[in-house]
């Protein structure tokens, strides 16, 4: 199976208005920057960007463009706002979160990672003992009051848990260090983070790959994401970026 697409247009085909798009990466590491740039160029709007831990803070130029172009309807993340209050206050993202123009939904990081895994593994819901005693227990945490759905709480084996549901994105955009034409992927160091689980979760997974290997060149015992989870592969150059404070 050859999943290599010829260009970014084909890579993002079908990713249209209103799509929920998982974006790999953890702050600056492992963010699919070139796929994000293609998303900006495509000018597709109404997007829900389903993140794991601040990939947009780690790719600020892309974040700025997405916000300025009005492409984002909603962000799901565990750590998606600037750490510094003063810096955040100046940023268009935070202004739109404040005004409610962008919805911002936040989960504990491990819970969010399980929500993606549940979607990938066909598990509709799990009881997770995280967030008890916090606002997580009361409702989904979002800046939009009307969306604060109540949570279901239950004590199992002495541990009080929140019932958490699978989160299935329409698309996942992931970044891999190497991959072959059948979509088998390997990540490098801490750039792995959310990329694997998002690839599992989405209906359509698009992987940007720094090093395109021939089928069979990846060691069979050392593949991180088996190709069955990946639908499109686009080779990209390795680009340098700055790791700045989030």
């Amino acid at each position: 199976m050859n999943k290599v697409v010829k260009d970014m247009r084909e890579a993002l085909s079908g990713l249209d208005y209103g799509a929920t798009v998982a974006v790999g990466g953890f702050f600056a590491a492992g963010v699919p920057r070139l796929l994000l740039r293609a998303l900006i160029e495509k000018e597709v709007k109404g997007l829900t960007l389903a993140c794991g831990s601040g990939p947009l803070l780690g790719a600020k130029d892309e974040l700025d463009a997405l916000v300025e172009n009005g492409q984002i309807r909603k962000i799901i993340d565990s750590y998606g706002l600037f750490r510094s209050a003063s810096r955040g206050a100046r940023h268009p993202l935070e202004q739109k979160v404040r005004s409610g123009e962008i919805e911002f939904e936040v989960y504990p990081m491990g819970t969010l990672s399980e929500k993606y895994r549940m979607a990938g593994a066909g598990i509709p819901a799990s009881y997770i003992p995280v967030g008890i005693g916090s606002m997580v227990e009361q409702s989904v945490i979002t800046n939009i009051e009307g969306k604060r759905k109540e949570r279901e709480i239950r004590t199992i084996d002495g541990r009080t848990c929140v019932l958490e549901y699978a989160l299935k994105p329409d698309f996942a955009l992931v970044h891999a260090y190497s991959g072959d034409s059948e979509g088998n992927l390997r990540y490098r160091k801490t750039a792995r983070n959310f990329n694997h689980v998002m690839a599992m979760a989405a209906r359509v997974t698009v992987a940007e790959v720094e090093n395109l290997a021939a089928s069979g060149d990846l060691e069979p015992d050392s593949v991180h994401t088996p190709g069955i989870f990946v639908h499109r592969v686009i080779p990209v150059p390795r680009i340098a970026f700055e790791i700045t404070n989030v």
Binding site: A85, G133, S134
Partner: protein
């Protein structure tokens, strides 16, 4: 309110490091906790970083920085002999599943029950949202949870409080608290003062602490 001069942040971190036993797996949060790693070099302690790394090395300076290698605070770090990488679900399986021996976090506030607040400053006015990150997962899964923080805010307001006024990260989870002025332990009856900064008296610590402190029979100066 009066504000006392105490340990610098690096030395709070040193005190925390002495509370970590050899052969421990440890996760260090942002802020003072990160500084603890400076005091663990040569120790048989393995640092877990929730981004997906075991045996996280020291911060990478200049050319040693690798854009694919950062810690959970978005700082370039280094690899050491025996470092291992893994994906985020494995990482939080370690955290939530109780595989981390010691977790050290910062906090805005801690109360007598061992509740603490760290994830959101409501004064930022963000309509009820903030950065949770891995804080709640770490607190929920920690076998031992240490808080390392200044004893008061910059303005001298106590951070050891009767009731949290910031949104809680987790409840009844804090074991020990390390500040610039004292080392304290959360016990069923309240907060027990175990060590204090040389030259300060119990009343001094109490004056910058909201709940009534219990005092350890073997109260001593902070041991470094």
């Amino acid at each position: 309110m009066r504000k006392y001069e105490g340990l610098p942040r690096e030395i709070i971190a040193l005190r925390v490091s002495k509370e970590i036993e050899d052969n421990s797996y440890v996760n260090l949060g942002i802020g003072i906790p990160t500084l603890v790693s400076n005091w663990l070099e040569g120790r048989d302690v393995i640092l877990q970083s929730e981004i997906g790394m075991l045996k996280t090395g020291s911060l990478a300076e200049g050319d040693a920085a690798d854009q694919d290698l950062i810690n959970a605070s978005c700082q370039p770090v280094t690899e050491v002999e025996g470092s291992v990488y893994f994906d985020i679900c494995e990482s939080f399986a370690m955290i939530r599943g109780g595989h981390i021996d010691v977790t050290v976090m910062g906090a805005f506030q801690v109360n007598e029950a061992g509740d603490f607040a760290s994830w959101m400053n409501p004064s930022r006015g963000l309509n009820g949202v903030g950065n949770i990150g891995g804080s709640m997962d770490l607190a929920s899964g920690a076998r031992k949870l240490f808080i390392a923080m200044e004893h008061t805010t910059r303005e001298g307001t106590p951070k050891l409080v009767r009731e949290l006024t910031y949104p809680a990260t987790a409840r009844k989870k804090v074991h020990k608290i390390f500040t610039d002025l004292a080392v304290l332990e959360v016990v069923p009856e309240g907060i027990l003062l175990r060590e204090l900064y040389p030259g300060l008296r119990i009343e001094d610590i109490q004056s910058v602490t909201e709940p009534k402190l219990l005092v350890a029979p073997d109260l001593k100066e902070i041991e470094l």
